[in-house]
Symmetry: C2
């Protein structure tokens, strides 16, 4: 040991310094999502490195297998943080290419669906990642890194997993112009203008992120669709995306405007029974498949909110969907949205989809899937599950959830949505089984955009993550998902996780409480859906008005959906309807969704309805204060930039929770003329003040 | 030297490795702009480190002086790349706080305007950065880093510099919604929705970038203004920006919608002579100054393209501007745009601004500045300078240039604009002096957006840089600016610079040649301004049509602006008009701008006009091919990501240059019925094919 070694060390130091300095200037900005691969602590990294070796593949390289190896190498290099792997190797292999002990492990996958994987430590110390198909190897690679990234020691990792649903889809509501409808994280992530000539490198990181949580389909354009995305110019753009994403197991889908053949000048009608129309869609599908052999299919919003559809020609949704399904044949699927919102039934908007679709059960082609929102109205902070689930035994259904928080405070408010989706997919339909058992897939409306952190806020990344994880395995608990995500994204410190996970788990109920407690819904300002506006009652269509949903008057509050009212309750199976029929005995989270009750109705807490309502608003406000205090205590565990970003947003949420509470209470008082319950703080401003607030610049309206 | 030292070195190595690894995963993405501070080569870094020492300040710390120190420390740490400064220190000091040799150097600044700085090496080896005001120290610090970053050795750096203009402004055309009119780099950089609660860290990097090139004012919102940005809610947002930018010497400005007092419900009229209107603006100014004591003032687009203005009340531009100027008083300025584009004068749109404004010379208040576009039409690839320059001796004028390339291929085409602006500011007005001598400032329409590289393309950063540098020193050559920028942004390698600088310098002429050669203008598709559309001739207003600008027919092509035509030539001083009067002797770059000539007119090359036109298109196409070949040869000098980004865009530009050439030639042939000149390639498609192309999704239309 002498000058030679020291010189070599100094040279190394200089080399590292050169690399390190540009890195030092960069704050953590969230771009890496949960694929951050932050270095393990030194002891864990040393142990893992001793147990791991080089990544090899027992199967011939394909683009997907190469992506799996490359992700493992990248992830391990960062996680192990300079500790050289010195153990036995990591073997990726398709079942058919394995033998001996590896083959026996892989055999446990027999009969499992596409994408299933097995991670096992073989007796000789090698780590096996096995699957029956290439994409299973990539999913297995991501799973292995997820286990490591969450801080599990190599020695305990043993995993076998298969996706619950074959369709795990993300819907983007972005327009070719770059505007994302209900998007709160900047512009669209798709650079349509420069495609196909330029493929933004973000598109690869996007595919990595989606594959890491098992997403296997992406609808790239808005459900309020432009016809011209079906033109050759756009098919070429889509092809470039499809080629880039194929190694990551992601199929591309397009939304199709029902009137496209007319608008593009090819036909004089869009009647789905017109032979020329049918031929146009068939030719269009052939044209797309010639460019994109694994094109996923069409997502269609028809006869809803002004979009064209088969009813314009006196045809049914089934006629329309089946026509497109015939055009696709066995090559793809039609995802037909059940969200229909037209002027037809003004008695109760919540009943409309069921009324239109359930009578068509059994009439849809085998490659048509109805995409049904989680609840019967529209992505509210809480709704009962949609009555269509379980009610159409001869029709394939998907659940549509909204990852972007249109009605939950945009990207600013912290609300972890796994509990919302879990409530729905674990709900007993009364028709045999829970909602998840009635699904062939899940589709989430993306919250991604051009913002550097993808989702507009760091914690909204968790909703993207959670949606994918639940679409893979709806049995996962919200807590496990939060824990996995927070450990990979922020810190594996157990003290940190013990604080942040409960904070996340309680956050959505906080939003429910300060916005729309006790089963209230749609009290947001019409149009932008931001902020309280329970007073709005003068818009042309009744269901555009928050007052339509609250039905608040001097006598009481709530929407009577029992037999004395709209009887939406009758759309549910009898056992389900029964649990919501008696306001005195039911789960009060849905109380005012189903019942119009007098202000002095006695709730289960012993409080009358009015003080209970105020209590819930106050509980929501207090919960946000507690979240902010919790976060403040976590400064030592989080990098400065992301800590600060989140703190600023929580401060806004604290103020806006009060705004919701105060404006709502001020309005209810103007209706019920009741004094504030004892001890309740009066609203900070008069009702006039709240009503005068105007947000012409609210994003993505 | 033993185990102890080795252990310490090993620990350091581990620490560096931890820092370096996340950095390694990041490609160069352009976010750092020209403030990249890439490590100097080892010998240069060692030499510079030996000549430099710690940064100290002889003056009491202020936010601006702290920013200057911090920038120096950050820049030096990265440039010197681990070499520890071991020489005499760097001293920042206001002239009044210096003594001895330092004071004598600082004294050379006496009489210089705000922001001037002196960089000198004192006899004792210290580096002095002196100024008369805080902001001069910040500008000096950036200048010192620029010298180092461009590869100059410390020993040769000796600089004294002062800004030519007091107003060096960037205009943002972004709406509160985030849409940037004529923006091709994503969404607005301003997160209006979360202001004032959240200040995006980008706002500080933005201010650093602007200060580094001497920009001292930013207009934050679109000239097509919303009235509500004058409401208290927005003043609070603006205040947060102003506070953040103040240390960087940047004053904020707002665009003011002339009808704001009416639209906000305060008055029944917006007549500038109405006492209530005058009082409203005075009160509004007071309200803004109470929040932002150094508010810059208002930028106004009035009676142009449908915007409201004083003419709506039978008042003049002077009446309107002076009313606002009175409201601001000596606290700020009114920047009144001379870009007026209304239906009043259909004979020649190019004449309108001069006709409306020159008769008002001397009628504007002292704190009114007319903001005049570089040319009389609208940011074309080439226009003669605006005839108002020099023609209003009793009125303050600013030049408005467009950094965003609305008419030059958006962010995709590479066109370095310094030569365009230099042509204008160095043009002799014929009224005594060149254009630059007639200005009090320059305003550039921003090309920044939410794209990670700020400007949509890496080379468009050069246009932002160049605009700032020219607003500071209009005498700088385009070549020096390109060299400075490229060395800091890409590579100091002399071989690289010897290739890339000429490529940049020729790039704008290439665009002129393949889009609108020989003085043609406005042949772009109406509305989006992308791609060729010389055939458009059926729009309601004549000057919306490309055919209005070309006046092409079987007999010839070009807009007769001589006495036999619109006589726009008469708006120029006689000596200037004289140089453009004779088509046979004039600078042919303006030939068809001023003259309608027969297709067989003999040009100076000896070719007839028609083959000369085709020759110029071909020259433009060939130049882009040469640019692409040059860039391809520079792969060894450029990081992979930015090399690839630029290569992809150049490939698009190559294809689109051909599109421009072919579509234009196909159209001219349909008009002149002439055969192609010998050797000229026929257009790739028929004229019908080009006419059928449609771009409903063109950005920022």
């Amino acid at each position: 040991m002498g000058r030679g070694l020291v010189n070599r060390l100094l040279a190394l130091l200089a080399a590292f310094a050169a690399l390190a300095l540009p890195g030092m200037a960069r704050a953590e900005d969230g771009y890496d999502l949960w694929l951050r691969y932050a270095p393990l602590d030194d002891g864990m990294a040393a142990d893992d490195a001793a147990a791991l070796g080089p990544v090899t593949s027992a199967s011939a390289p394909t683009p997907t297998i190469i992506a799996a190896r490359s992700e493992l190498e990248r992830g391990l290099a960062e996680l192990l943080d300079g500790h050289e792997p010195a153990g036995r190797g990591i073997v990726l292999g398709l079942a058919r290419d394995l033998d001996g002990a590896a083959a026996r492990e892989a055999a446990t996958l027999e009969g499992q669906p596409a994408g299933a994987y097995r991670i096992a430590r073989l007796a000789d110390g090698r780590i096996l990642i096995a699957a029956q198909d290439d994409i299973g190897l990539l999913y297995g690679a991501f799973a292995f890194l997820r286990h490591l990234g969450a801080g599990e020691p190599v020695s305990t990792i043993d995993d076998i997993s298969a996706p619950a649903f074959s369709l795990r889809i993300i819907d983007h509501w972005g327009n070719p112009s770059g505007l994302v409808e209900r998007g709160y994280s900047g512009r669209s992530i798709f650079d349509w203008w420069h495609l196909p000539d330029r493929l933004d490198p973000r598109m690869i990181d996007y595919a990595r992120a989606e594959a890491s949580i098992g997403i296997n389909g992406v609808v790239v354009n808005n459900v309020n669709a432009k016809a011209y995305v079906l033109e050759p110019r756009y098919i070429a753009k889509l092809r470039r995306l499809a080629d880039a994403w194929r190694p990551y197991g992601i199929r591309v889908y397009l939304t199709a405007r029902f009137s496209a053949p007319m608008e593009l000048g090819a036909t004089g009608t869009a009647d789905p029974l017109d032979p020329a129309v049918r031929q146009w869609w068939k030719d269009k599908a052939d044209e797309i498949y010639a460019a994109i052999p694994d094109f996923g299919g069409f997502l269609v919003k028809a006869n809803s909110e002004g979009q064209p559809g088969p009813q314009d020609y006196g045809r049914t949704h089934a006629d329309g969907a089946n026509m497109m399904a015939a055009a696709l044949g066995d090559r793809g699927v039609v995802l037909w949205r059940a969200f229909v919102y037209s002027a037809e039934d003004s008695t109760d908007r919540a009943k409309q989809a069921y009324n239109e679709f359930v009578p068509l059960d059994g009439k849809f082609a085998d490659n048509v899937i109805l995409q049904v929102k989680n609840g019967p109205v529209d992505f509210q902070p809480r709704e009962p599950f949609h009555p269509m689930f379980g009610a159409m035994p001869h029709t394939k259904l998907m659940l549509e959830g909204q990852i972007t928080k249109e009605y939950l405070g945009f990207a600013t408010h912290l609300a972890f949505l796994a509990p919302l989706w879990k409530e729905v997919i674990t709900a007993d339909t009364g028709h045999g089984g829970v909602v998840a058992q009635n699904l062939v897939g899940m589709a989430g409306v993306a919250n991604t955009g051009s913002d550097r952190n993808w989702s507009g806020s760091h914690f909204d990344q968790a909703n993207w993550y959670a949606f994918g994880r639940l679409a893979w395995d709806p049995r996962m608990s919200s807590g496990n998902i939060a824990q996995e995500w927070a450990a990979q994204t922020f810190s594996r410190d157990p003290g940190f996780l013990a604080e942040v996970v409960p904070m996340m788990l309680g956050s959505r109920q906080a939003v429910v409480d300060y916005m729309t407690p006790l089963g209230l819904a749609h009290q947001m300002g019409t149009g932008h859906h931001y902020g309280p506006a329970p007073w709005i009652c003068d818009l042309a269509r009744p269901e555009w008005n928050p007052c339509y949903y609250s039905k608040a008057d001097a006598g009481g509050i709530g929407f009577d959906r029992t037999a004395t009212g709209s009887d939406a309750l009758a759309q549910y199976a009898p056992t389900v309807a029964a649990q919501w029929r008696d306001p005195k005995a039911m789960d009060e989270d849905y109380l005012l969704w189903f019942h119009h009750l007098p202000w002095d109705f006695k709730t289960q807490s012993g409080r009358a309805l009015w003080p209970e309502l105020v209590h819930r608003y106050d509980r929501g406000v207090a919960e946000v204060d507690a979240m902010a205090a919790t976060w403040a205590s976590l400064a030592p565990n989080v990098d400065e930039q992301r800590f600060e970003d989140t703190s600023e947003f929580l401060a806004i949420q604290q103020r806006e929770a009060r705004w919701w509470r105060d404006a709502s209470i001020a309005y209810w008082q103007s209706v019920n003329h009741l004094p504030l319950p004892e001890g309740a703080a009066p609203p900070a401003h008069s009702l006039d003040w709240y009503e005068a607030l105007s947000f012409p610049d609210a994003p993505a309206d």
